[in-house]
Assembly symmetry: C2
Homo-oligomer: 517 residues x 2
Amino acid sequence: MSTSPGRRTSRRSRTSTSSAPVVSPVQAGMHGGHYTPLTQTEIERIHALVLRLLEDLGLSQVTPSLEARAVEAGCWVDDNNRLRFPRALVEDMIARTRRKFTLHGIDPTHDIEIGGKRVHAGTGGAAPTILDFETGKYRESTVADLYDIARLVDRLDNIHWYHRSVVARDTASILDLDINTTYACLAGTTKSIAVSYTDRASIDAVLPMLDAVAGGEGAFRKRPFCTAVCCHVVPPMRFATESCEALEAAVEAGMPILLVAAGQAGATAPAALAGAVAQACAEVLAGLILCNIIDPNCRGIFATWPFVSDLRTGAMSGGSGEQALLSAACAQMAGFYDLPNSVPAGMTDSKLPDMQSGGEKGYTVSLAAHAGASMIHESAGMQGSLMGTSFEGYVLDNDLLGAILRTVKGVEVNEDTLNFDVICDVVMGEGHYLGHPQTFARMKTDYLYPEIADRRSISEWEEAGGRDARDAARDEVRKVLAEHYPSHIPDNTDTQLRDHYNIILPKARMRTGNGVW
Amino acid sequence: MSTSPGRRTSRRSRTSTSSAPVVSPVQAGMHGGHYTPLTQTEIERIHALVLRLLEDLGLSQVTPSLEARAVEAGCWVDDNNRLRFPRALVEDMIARTRRKFTLHGIDPTHDIEIGGKRVHAGTGGAAPTILDFETGKYRESTVADLYDIARLVDRLDNIHWYHRSVVARDTASILDLDINTTYACLAGTTKSIAVSYTDRASIDAVLPMLDAVAGGEGAFRKRPFCTAVCCHVVPPMRFATESCEALEAAVEAGMPILLVAAGQAGATAPAALAGAVAQACAEVLAGLILCNIIDPNCRGIFATWPFVSDLRTGAMSGGSGEQALLSAACAQMAGFYDLPNSVPAGMTDSKLPDMQSGGEKGYTVSLAAHAGASMIHESAGMQGSLMGTSFEGYVLDNDLLGAILRTVKGVEVNEDTLNFDVICDVVMGEGHYLGHPQTFARMKTDYLYPEIADRRSISEWEEAGGRDARDAARDEVRKVLAEHYPSHIPDNTDTQLRDHYNIILPKARMRTGNGVW
């Protein structure tokens, strides 16, 4: 009580702050988990239903090959031809499966470690349409769009991977689609990519391409930078036969596998959110168990993606509060199981990157992130409940993701951030913190500066044209697409690929100065 | 393991779901607190600095009257004329102050209970400009705007109070401003209102008006529906002399008092976020202690509002991730103290209700809400880091607040939401949940349907004109302002008020059919 603020010296604190190392305020893989929508008791009740669903109801339509493997491992098939998973097997498998692994980038600087509540965000989806940034109208998406989005994502720091977000409508067959999707993703970014392979033939077809880009035969398996997105179930509680074949092939090829159960609450999953979470967990665990039976060292990702129905129409509502809760609760369940996981967030119902879009992305992504999701898919670029995507969206969402990741980093509490002497210094001295050494030091380590978000005063903004965020983002889209052509695939490799595959993307499209933009 | 899903009957579960009472999925005052950015140890470290700041540094510039009261209660004044608060006094006062109270609406149906992690959202602010919804340009805000915003807020269910959000620029004096602000708020809504009174004269002036609207002399004190917003400090650690006089008058009048410390991290508060939180807590506690010394039954609201500076320019950034953290951490500190509290969120840096605006509001409000803030101020209508407001914003933000409040309600976990029989029913039966009784029941209790947010398909939306959310909101603004004229102030009371006060808002402006809109 007798301490006089005028008497203490502040030299020590000044020295210690100015010598602090400069670390960017946002990195991939910061720890979430401070938001816990479910209590421990609630988690355990959901888990009890998960076990019961797997044991007492099981899943139908498994492939003969997987059925044989599963039965050998301890599953059984009931009179209704449903594959049942005994509780002990499920619990053993949860205990044994990989708790974390590296999701490789094509370039190792983009490797991320998933598992243990480390939070990452990236793209996802299968939109059939894209909002053309020149015309402002929706049109069918193409292979060139896949490549252009890849190039954008390559430049956007807070998007940690590029999982294909549109379906190319200009391919002639499923095989051509899968080959050209893989190629367009590979060519446009050095981040980790993912493609949804619907059958074994597609995976067999693209493996030589992945090896070629990795540096030669067998090279991909050492750094598997392409994830197979596998919707191995058709909810409720039914395996998707062809996808199960793809699952088997992907695991055998050493690919990371995103095991997606995308039921829709009120349609293909219970309308009661807790029930939808339980069903999704059961469905994904069923897939994860099969993957582990195939290869105990598999890189399975627990991707519980229950969606929401607007129950007035039955249509999906990706931007609803209910969706935010489903995804956050699933992330928490995955944390309970301690599994590398994925949830969807950022799936606005809005058709434009507008206020609705921002708001819906803001709360869905932040709750998923703080719930500790390893991978937040669909978190950039999506519009119209996943039915569309927009170029400007990726740029705007990158900013949003940065700010949200800044919140995941949290408040640093230590001797320096709670420095009595700094406050006394200022209060008894100049009266403001602007010139204080701590302020200079913290400016670089604690504060994130957005790329697009406009922080100017109203008058400065008016003088600059008074544009909305979407307009500013469009400029950035034009700039990146005109300038940024990743060239990590050597020319001779590319020529080989073009010789062997029916590559739709013109080679001329992959260089600057081609006059397209 | 031998349970056959085909054999169980589901009649019991169907009956129980269909007889569930219908409760709206969102109410005022749902419980937050599931997001905890700080650990218990971190909270205690911050609290230790708070105590030290109050005891070992104190605040300067207290008024003689408050100084005398404080010294009598156990404070002391140091050689630098700083009022010091002994630790024991602070702790006693935190233990003794009211933990919850009713914040009255003008109409009792709008009463809310604040305290105990019940979450509410509403307006706030002092914007000098408004985005005119007809011209799309910013202009100076007026008394008529205050009234119109009040009418909008009156119709928007997820905005729980109307604290004046703009400063009327068309008044001649501070006294006229305060009188006309109070009148415009009172006239436009039956929700709880708040006005920032900068001195005792303003409070003395408006009390008869508040009594008249409440029903007669002394009636306001019984249901004090007007909160005094009091920026009792000029951070760092200095009392604001005139506001302290207003504080004294407001507490004596029985008004709820919002004790605001609005330091700006990096300028008038430490750049280190934890330090900014500690300083804000100390500053607000200083005010709360004074209020409690004046009246142990006071309705003080712990309003820690540390803002963020963009340290490149020194300008405020209300939409940053750092802001989201400051507000959430402050809400958690208030939870630790178990005090009715307020934090700011929704203060986008964007000048328009655009994607940036939505995103920034989305994460700042959702984190504040989940951190358990009693009152989230500034959560509707604000633009440009509080320097502007927009009509469309209130309508859009109301939707956003609804969705976020839906997430605060959380996931209901019980026998019905985790119903094995419902899942079996569907899986072994029709294969989808659309027609299941549980779906019908949950449709009304679990799902919130937005007013403005567009959930149509891309093609339906295109056919309807392909508009953005702001355009849709503008229609709603026009409609409400053309139709909704609250008439809770009897004509003779209004005539009396107009006789006694210099009321700027024309009486003709307060009726439908006046041709203004």
